[in-house]
């Protein structure tokens, strides 16, 4: 038996959970941004930036999934062994869980940033930087998942 099932399970977790985090984060931020835009549509550019900030988690998850697919025979590479499949699954958990929860948190921060920017445009850069502070944790999760996924085919499992 090969480990494709587990590898795909991992791929789904990476994109699915991280995507959930981003979806909720962006969704909440978009709601707040639209409230602001209904008053002053000239802030669209700034609102767009703040709204999209919690969107990166989904991308990170997607990249991990994509690399798993490339490595494990779906889009190239060879079918993984059972332990390799389990390893992919384990590697995906980092970005899946880290991405989801940091997405929620970043979404909340983005909503506050939007409120702050709505009051005064000058706050924009401060709001933006504060919102990206959350991102580092998604980033760390991503790097861990990524390094693991890239190395797994070379491991003798």
């Amino acid at each position: 038996m090969n480990g494709l099932v587990f590898a795909l399970l991992g791929a789904s977790i990476a994109t699915g959970l991280a995507g959930t985090g981003s979806a909720r984060g962006v969704g909440g931020a978009a709601q707040a941004a639209m409230g602001v835009l209904s008053e002053d549509s000239s802030k669209f550019g700034k609102m767009l930036v703040l709204t999209l900030l919690p969107g990166t988690q989904g991308l990170y998850g997607f990249i991990v999934s994509f690399l798993i697919l490339v490595n494990c025979g779906v889009l190239g590479g060879e079918l993984p062994t059972l332990s390799q499949g389990l390893a992919y699954f384990g590697a995906s958990l980092a970005i899946g869980i880290g991405g989801m929860i940091s997405g929620f948190a970043q979404g909340k921060a983005a909503v506050s940033g939007i409120a702050m920017t709505a009051k005064d445009d000058k706050n924009f850069s401060k709001a933006m930087v504060s919102v990206t502070l959350v991102e580092i944790y998604a980033l760390l999760s991503f790097i861990i998942s990524l390094l693991a996924v890239i190395r797994i085919p070379g491991l003798n499992l």
Binding site: V49, F66, V129, T132, I136, L140, I143
Partner: protein, 662 residues
């Protein structure tokens, strides 16, 4: 290449020249007028609020007229025309614009008046529509509402609540007044009301009235002497007339559309004059003279002098400005100037700060390129910005923004070459698709590339190494600032030791990969620095606190570690761009090699890469900025200075041509 030296300027001139002098200063935008809070003895400040208000009011008036005009006749503008900026005019043109102020205000009044008429017409139309709806149940009535009686009979026209048929109504009436002889006609019957005309002999009028009121009979409110059909016709005619009138009004408003530009210009004129008067209100006046105080960058002093002397006889005095309170203006060479806007977005430099623009510019371009990292996208950025600059000749600030992206584009292009990425792996993907080969970008390109997917670990180390350089440069700035302010202890202990500690760790890490000697040097350096830190960091405290403070300060090393880890985003975003592009290339080449498959291929290719550009350019922009603000600026930059805001034309549509070079 730095913060400009500010001079404080005082200009005294005759009151009779006030208008001319101030307008010249306003056009030139060279000086920030700022009066002392206290009025000088023997001087007073004129009350110009009312004049300023008149201009403000006129500006609002034109604003309203323009809003109406834009709603009815939207201005046709290209998607990119916002890059063009304000229209440039000659200083003399302002006079020509001002001369027509009265005429323009008249136009605005007319536009607003016409718009009000449209609004009134609309309200009237609603009223007519209501009346028409009320008339509907009376359609069948062929006598006027106001008819009360004929020769022999009394006539009742009105409505009863509830729904009746002829039978139920006759029965109800008979139940109320069995003796009553009547004839009635049911005009209409709905759920809520039934409209009737009822005739009874005059002798029985009272009886009939009683019977009807027992059934809650009500006459219509406005009993007009016209027949309902005629009334309806009258209302419809009135409504048609109103419609026509509205059309005419709108047409007339549209006929003013060609004056839009004139109105915009006059609006700016009003704004400019309102500003002028509010500035005059801040100036100290004596009986015959007035005094302007303000700040001028040193390099502009001569220009101001020449300008004032040309405008009017006046006395000028330049003195060194107090650095603590003077506003800050940055000036940089072509390479660093675009980064000034990023510095100012954070905060203008405080008096003690150096101008971080050149350092920021270099790292901004560098990191942006590393994150966006695609030769194709980079070329697109360079050409798009070049096109916009050439075609629309944007104003200075917009031009700088475009330049910023142009430089970032060049860096993106170069990093794309390093990572072997041109629209992702498009060349390889297309070649494989059509030739059926199986090559990678690394095999196609003649130079060695660093593939972020295969060499992620290497790239991560490279990213952190760049981060280390970035942080060290930031600390170097702090060192320089402390040294310049003769705070040698602060420079050496607080910054120098940390720098050598970080360098020690870096050598240690490098030594682990290479030779033992480097590693040992690293260990030595780091250990020595750590000891130095323990000894010096508690120096403001006494006794045991000295040692504790020193040891505790070593804990700050966690801050530096998290700063360094933050640079892994260089890898993450670079990888994201590449992988997304690769995914879109893969999707685009899924449809086989037949001729019709070119269409979906092209569509996916174009839209996919557009999405990728949008998402990742935004990400690169934001994250590069974060690296500058959080990681770099926290090391040395204080901010909180006052940006230089010259007294200028605060206009939306026009600007004065910059002085032609003589």
């Amino acid at each position: 290449m730095a913060k400009l030296k500010m001079k404080k300027v005082q200009i005294a001139a005759l009151r009779s020249d006030r208008k001319r002098l101030i307008e010249h200063l306003q056009d030139s935008a060279l000086i920030q007028i700022e009066s002392e809070t206290e009025v000088l003895e023997g001087f007073s400040r004129p009350d110009t609020v009312s004049q300023a208000q008149i201009f403000e009011k006129n500006a609002v008036l034109t604003e309203q007229a323009l809003t109406i005009l834009n709603r009815l006749a939207p201005e046709k503008t290209g998607l990119l025309s916002s890059f063009a900026g304000r229209r440039t005019i000659d200083p003399d043109e302002i006079g020509a614009i001002a001369a027509k102020a009265g005429e323009r205000i008249e136009t605005c009044r007319k536009i607003i008046g016409l718009n009000n008429r449209c609004a009134e017409n609309a309200a009237e139309l609603v009223r007519i529509r209501t009346s028409l709806a009320q008339l509907e149940p009376w359609d069948k009535l062929d006598i006027p509402f106001s008819l009360q009686e004929t020769e022999k009979t009394a006539v009742f026209i009105g409505s009863l609540p509830g729904s009746y048929t002829e039978e139920t109504l006759a029965a109800a009436l008979a139940g109320e007044a069995p003796d009553l002889a009547f004839a009635f006609e049911l005009l209409s019957s709905g759920k809520e009301q039934t409209c009737i005309t009822l005739c009874a002999m005059k002798a029985q009028a009272e009886l009939a009235e009683k019977a009807l009121s027992a059934l809650s009979f009500a006459r219509p409110f406005d009993a007009v002497s016209l027949l309902p059909a005629e009334e309806k016709k009258r209302l419809e005619e009135a409504s048609a007339k109103l419609d026509f009138d509205t059309q005419q009004c709108k047409k007339e408003i549209l006929s003013y559309a060609k004056e839009r530009r004139a109105l915009q210009e006059i609006q700016d004129y009003f704004r400019i004059r309102a500003d002028k008067y509010s500035v005059i209100g801040q100036l100290d006046h004596s009986a015959h003279t007035f005094l302007i105080t303000g700040y001028v960058p040193e390099e502009d002093c001569e220009k101001v002098m020449a300008l004032c002397n040309r405008a009017a006889p006046c006395v000028m005095e330049f003195s060194d400005a107090d650095e603590e309170t003077a506003p800050v203006k940055l000036k940089n060479n072509k390479f660093a100037a675009p980064a000034q806007s990023i510095v100012n977005m954070y905060a203008a430099p405080a008096p003690s700060d150096i101008d971080p623009s050149p350092i920021l510019a270099f790292f901004y371009y560098f990191f942006f390129g590393m994150m966006f990292s695609d030769a194709g996208y980079g070329l697109l950025m360079v050409f798009a910005t070049a096109f916009l600059i050439k075609k629309y000749k944007p104003e200075a600030s917009m031009r700088l923004n475009l330049k910023l992206f142009q430089y970032c584009g060049i860096s993106t292009f170069l990093w794309g070459l390093v990572f072997g990425s041109f629209f992702g792996d498009a060349p390889a993907a297309l070649y494989n698709h059509f030739a059926g080969a199986n090559v990678t970008m690394a095999e196609l390109l003649p130079w060695p590339i660093l593939d972020p997917q295969k060499d992620a670990l290497t790239l991560m180390i490279v990213s952190i190494a760049f981060g280390l350089v970035h942080i060290l440069v930031g600390m170097g700035c702090k060192f320089y600032i402390c040294w310049k302010n003769k705070d040698y202890k602060g420079a050496l202990y607080d910054t120098g030791l940390w720098m050598s500690l970080l360098i020690g760790f870096a050598l240690l890490a490098a030594g682990m990969a290479t030779t033992k000697i480097v590693m040992n040097i690293g260990i030595g350096l780091a250990a020595a620095s750590a000891v130095g830190l323990v000894l010096t960091q508690g120096r403001s405290k006494k006794g045991v606190g000295r040692v504790v403070g020193g040891v505790a300060s070593l804990y700050d090393v966690t801050g530096y570690i998290s700063d360094l880890l933050s640079y892994t985003r260089l890898l993450a975003l670079g990888l994201t761009t590449g992988v997304m592009a690769q995914v879109f290339n893969m999707l685009a080449t899924m449809f086989g090699t037949s001729i019709p498959s070119f269409i979906p291929m092209l569509l996916i290719f174009i839209f996919g890469h557009l999405i990728n550009i949008g998402l990742n350019a935004l990400g690169s922009y934001v994250h590069t900025m974060r690296l500058q603000y959080v990681e770099l600026f926290s090391k040395f930059y204080e901010g909180g200075g006052r940006p230089f805001q010259p007294f200028t034309l605060n206009s939306k549509y026009i600007r004065i041509q910059e002085e032609t070079k003589k």
